[in-house]
């Protein structure tokens, strides 16, 4: 069928099954928007900033497991998208971003709104394309979706010059992809899997170290099965919250810089780390030479480059977690005895009783942890939770009762402030039946606040709970601990009227200073079904604890506030 390049882009998006595209038009992408106007195969949501479009597509992808799609114009449209691309890249989100480019004849001439998008995005995309001929476009679009969702997922950028979207040519969307240089390893080496199985059977203190790869591979059920059949304790990374389920007795909690005591001690004392889709990030390991120093390591990852990158691995297994776990479970079936590790579990239970994850609640002032636990109690599994980056992110990761994978959406790798609100819009579009809560701070929320307008226009009722301490709290915490209380540029005492801002943009705002007010505000926000800011005044100097000081060993945690800092 004959059509222009712009129509081909739309046809490909429809063929890939994407129902919602987030974007922002501009000169170089206008041809595509003209075709979007004429079609009804997908809806387009106009965010009020390109960065938000990418985060929204990211949130959509993380909540649904499908490829997110976003669209931006050339030049500043594209550069605004870079933070979103980098965020998705670091957390391996499957995403296709279409960017307009100046016409081929103008490329290299410093044309209006020209920037080298492929050059800039190379280190923050899984792959990228500059389309040079219309005849390549259908194949490139097909490949982009394939590369985004296969292997270790990631964002793919397709940069299309304006004359190519205008040109008319024959469109046949390919059924399959053939990239001879790209064949991800998924099956896992059988001999290595067998060896890993024997290592598990021989271990005395095995520990499942569960990372975000288990979410991407939809392997939660298998992870739970493996843990249960062996009675093997587990710890989750920030990206894996929900994989085990909060009430799973084998789950110790989250490990790392703000991990709980028993999780970090489990990692410090285990004799066999079973790493599933985790990548030994520095925020998880602390001082590398002390990390799991008594343990052999089984490392299952679809990305071979993650294996042996930071930690020496005894049993490297390159493959898709789901496929590898199926084989591992088959190998362990009938041979593994949960009794074998009961002493180990007892040790960890004692640690958990010794220093449970807790906080000092108060009747005078709202504690942020109380807010998180309260929302968990009221909404629990009915909600999808997103967050921005900072103290509120850690409090949410620590205290929310995550029940399933894809319930928790946050920027873990890049740590992008401003991610939470637009990601919540994407998640809500992907799962309209769920309540979507964005836990945010008074710092983060300002970095994409314009999405109030988007949320109001498209009636996407997400609830932003601003845990407001009038500080860039996490930086303030470090300044308190390591910079002798010199609060350089972290005091946010000058505040906007959050309630007023929400109202001005078509939403609802609540200022909350007591627990009762919070309950009422949340109830009202859910009932009103509109975008909301719930501005919660919390204890100003609350710290995220436990904390492993940067570069310290995991077992050296600051467990409670020193007296003078209270």
């Amino acid at each position: 069928m004959k059509m222009n390049g712009a129509r081909m882009v739309c046809e490909a998006i429809i063929a890939e099954g994407t129902k919602t595209v987030f974007g922002y038009p501009g000169g170089a992408i206008m041809n595509v928007y003209d075709e979007i106007y004429k079609q009804d195969g997908f809806e387009h949501i106009l965010n009020r900033h390109e960065q938000a479009s990418i985060h929204a597509a990211d949130g959509y992808a993380r909540a649904t497991g499908e490829v997110g799609v976003a669209m931006v114009t050339s030049g500043p449209g594209f550069t605004n998208a870079v933070t979103g691309l980098a965020t998705a890249y670091m957390d391996s989100t499957p995403m296709v971003v279409i960017s307009g480019q100046v016409p081929l004849s103008l490329i290299g001439t410093d044309g209006f709104q020209e920037i080298d998008a492929v050059g800039i995005s190379r280190p923050c995309t899984k792959h990228n394309y500059l389309v040079r001929e219309l005849s390549e476009l259908p194949r490139i679009l097909k490949e982009a979706f394939h590369i985004a969702r296969s292997g270790r997922p990631g964002p793919v950028l397709v940069d299309i010059p304006k004359d190519i979207t205008a040109e008319i040519g024959e469109f046949v969307y390919p059924d399959s992809v053939n990239i001879p240089s790209y064949k991800p390893t998924t099956k896992g080496n059988k001999r290595q899997i067998d060896k890993a199985v024997e290592a598990i059977l021989k271990a005395k203190k095995p520990l499942l170290y569960i990372g975000g790869g288990t979410v991407l591979s939809n392997a939660s059920d298998l992870v739970r099965k493996l843990a249960l059949m062996g009675g093997i304790p587990a710890v989750e990374t920030l990206m894996a919250r929900g994989v085990m389920g909060y009430n799973n007795p084998l789950l110790q909690g989250m490990l790392g810089m703000h991990g709980n005591y028993s999780s970090n001690m489990a990692m410090s004392e285990t004799d066999l780390v079973i790493s599933l889709g985790a990548r030994f990030d520095d925020r998880v390991t602390g001082k590398l030479s002390e990390f799991a120093k008594y343990a052999d390591v089984i490392h299952v990852d679809i990305d071979a480059a993650n294996i042996g990158k930071l930690v020496d691995v005894d049993f490297p297994i390159v493959g898709d977690i789901t496929i590898v776990l199926e084989k591992m479970i088959l190998g362990l079936e009938g041979r593994i005895n949960p009794e074998r590790y009961s002493d180990w579990r007892d040790v960890l239970n004692r640690y958990n009783k010794l220093h449970p994850l807790t906080f000092q609640d108060s009747d005078e002032v709202i504690k942020p942890q109380w807010v998180v636990e309260r929302v968990g109690k009221l909404l629990g599994k009915r909600a999808i939770i997103t967050s921005d980056v900072g103290q509120h992110q850690m409090w949410t990761a620590q205290h929310y009762p995550f029940d399933r994978p894809r319930q928790w959406i946050n920027s873990g790798g890049l740590g992008t402030m401003g991610f939470g609100f637009p990601a919540a819009l994407g998640a809500k579009r992907g799962h309209p039946e769920k309540t979507v809560i964005n836990f945010t701070g008074d710092g983060s929320i300002l970095m994409n606040m314009q999405e109030l307008v988007t949320a109001s226009e498209y009636k996407i009722p997400v609830i932003n709970i601003i845990l407001n301490n009038h500080f860039l709290g996490m930086v303030r915490q470090w300044q308190s601990f390591f910079y002798d209380n010199r609060f350089a540029e972290t005091d946010l005492s000058y505040q906007p009227d959050y309630k007023g801002v929400a109202q001005a943009c078509g939403g609802i705002g609540y200022d909350v200073t007591t627990k009762e007010e919070f309950d009422k505000a949340l109830e009202d926000a859910i009932a009103k079904d509109r975008v909301t800011f719930i501005n919660v005044a919390i204890n100003r100097f609350e710290n995220v604890l436990p904390m492993v000081p940067s570069g310290g060993a995991l077992y050296n945690m600051i467990l409670e506030d020193q007296k003078e800092e209270k």
Binding site: R122, H127, S181
Partner: protein, 156 residues
Amino acid sequence: MADVRRVISILVENESSVLSRVSGLFAGRGYNIETLTVAPIPDTNRSRITIVTKGSKRVIEQITKQLHKLIPVYKVVEHDEMVEKEMILAKFPIEENLSNIQALCQAYNGGIANVGNNMIIGMVTDEPCRIKHFIEATKRYNPIEVVRGGVVAIER
């Protein structure tokens, strides 16, 4: 971990941005490039990039794995049994002794490539470590310019 020198040979799809993907990976991840050569492989749509690098064992392993992840990369060969050659051109003033320069170049698998009215150009092709000796040896003839070609290598 002590640094080792490695020759890495990369087979890639011959497309416009592939060299920037490879060199950008080295720059972005802080890997070291000592020499880099690239040319199309005859009768294919592929190119071979040969890179000489230095790093710890872990870094060398990461380099090969990260290269593998690039979509247009077919194959990464990291081998310590490679036949390596490097070519070099050196320009000398015409006042220098032509026959001595010729003898020197011949000792390193080369000869005189060109003689003009004010300069002599010598050419040699040899193993990288011998190339270093050659450069050292040219110094007594006051070279005006020395151009190294970078290492090319093939598996033994």
